[in-house]
């Protein structure tokens, strides 16, 4: 009497199989019921780490020095910015046109900017971000 019309017997649904590294047991326990806010998405710790890393990288490139290793010659301190400038000057001696060398300077600046953005996205990427449960191939 209580069955719906046309209903057929069926087994209880199986527990969704684990999918390895996204196993629920690997997730932290839920601790809040309110919807996440923008603040939750940008924990202060990540912002601090990101800012410190980017500032550190820029300072390292602009002010940093390294002891160069070049064959049997004794190493000496050279500014990192100087090294890159010397590399591009050297390319001029090798016949690389000026516009290519200018392009390389632009690429180096873009690289540093891209690293800053990439680091932020690397820090922000979470498994929740990747996994919408049951999506795609379910």
């Amino acid at each position: 009497m209580g069955d719906s019309p046309g209903a057929t017997a069926t087994a209880p649904p199986e527990r969704p199989p684990s999918s390895g590294a996204n196993d629920a047991s690997d997730m932290p326990p839920a601790s809040a019921t309110r919807p996440p806010s923008a603040h939750d998405n940008r924990p202060r710790g990540l912002v601090i780490v990101w800012a410190a890393a980017v500032v550190g990288l820029v300072l390292y490139l602009l002010l940093g020095e390294v002891v160069t290793e070049a064959g049997s010659r004794p190493g000496r301190w050279v500014r990192i910015a100087t090294l890159w400038r010397r590399l591009l000057d050297d390319l001029a001696d090798a016949g690389i046109p000026a516009f290519v060398r200018f392009g390389l300077w632009v690429l180096l600046v873009l690289f540093v900017a891209g690293v800053a953005v990439g680091l932020w996205w690397a820090l922000r990427a979470t498994s929740d971000d990747v996994a919408a449960p049951g999506a795609e191939r379910a």
Binding site: S19, A21, L46, R76, G118, V130, A131, A132, E136, R137
Partner: protein, 508 residues
Amino acid sequence: MADVAEPGTVPPIRTTGHGFSPGRTLALRGWPSVQRFFWLLLALYVVKQCVFVFAFRPFSGHDEVAHLSYLQTVATEWRVPVLPELDEWRAAVRQGDEPAVDGFPDELYPYCDYALYWHCEPDKPQWALNPPRMVTYLGDYYPTGYQYGANHPPLYYVVMTPLYWASDGLSPVAQHYLLRLAAIPFGMLTVAFAYGMSRVLFPADAFLAVTVPAVVAFQPQISYEAAMVNNDIVSIALYSAILFLMILGIRDRFPYRVCLLLGTTLGLGLLTKSNSLSAIPLIALAVLLSVGWRQVRAWLVRGSLILLPAAVLAAPWYLFLYRTYGNLDGLDQIAALQSYWNKPAGTFFGMLLSWDFIVMRFKETWGEFGWRRIHLTSTLNWIIALPMLVAFAGLIRYLIVAGVARLTDRDEPSPRLERWQWLGVGMLVLTCIVAYLAIIQFGTRFALTQARYFFPVVNAAALLLLFGLRTLIPRAYHAYAQGAVFASGVLLNLFLFTQYIIPHFISL
């Protein structure tokens, strides 16, 4: 349900999360951070590779002289070069002839130091004007400056031929830089397959989706390969595609479409470099274990769909090798030509158990650019090795604990893997073992065995190590670990350039 016979009856394997999907990846709006990171990583990779291309002196990459010379032969003479037969060559020399040999072009003699045993005295006028083609050793004659890469398959050179023609009017150096730039897309493919394989094997894991492609993108030797004139990077990209398709096949129990793609990729790999041969038994085992060895018809059909395109593509090349050299690799001829300086690197078990052998392969994996020219300090090697050892320990610990738990029906540690994921991880482990043993096998005959022969499985090694690392890091710290792995890759590259590479090539 029993193992599956036909694709139509294969029950779909459910996974949570998004698998790798080009259509989804190309969607312009609403990208998750992981996808945004991946595309930015590719853009950063291109920028970094341009620096790699121009920072290294022309032809200083291993065998660039040989590769450009091979390309010249293909592009200008419409044929592949041939190794000289030592006995025939000597007989002709003794009769006073100067036998015609496929050799390196005279204009590349200033770069002889970057070629293998091209007698190199470019400052001496008699050799600068007329580069040496013959040496004597203990009274015997040997050719020098010959095309020792002639036993390499031709695909890379055929693909590069249009670019060679288009740049024909440029100087050899300018043309060389252009050809180096043309290697970058193959490096991008390698990074893309690293991302794709992570997403297929661990569909919902951000840590691996971020760190695996990042490590591959910033691995300095893989980057180096993708910034020089060589067929290795094409081989690496194609082997990466094979591994990606193999994991995809394991997940979906090798549908016919994947089998055909796998066979075609394998065939292209065999036409690029012979180390793709090692993929054949791995693919066969993956198919057998995935569809079930009792399902004879199922694996026979799938095996045929893989082998047929591979054989059709590769057969002409192997027929050519057999007709030209009487063997399928030309290595007998190479061994004879190099006999005045070559010797085996050791015995198989001697190398397998040699600490020095392992250390040298590690050094070549991270430094030793060119033919072992730029050496990293022991301190830096240890800084690189320690996190790798920790990750390796994490992998071994996980495999033992989870494997034992699975076999004894106890609760598995997190993350729990499904059967197909276990198979995928197992095949990647086996892939790395086979690749390493191949290095050793080559060394039983040739002194110049090297870590480069392991590079085609870089994606497998990266995924396994980072999976091992992941098992050691509490989930709450994954975000920081992702940032740390990415930042470490960037810093390592910056450090290598400023500390080693730039000072090696310019006078300060």
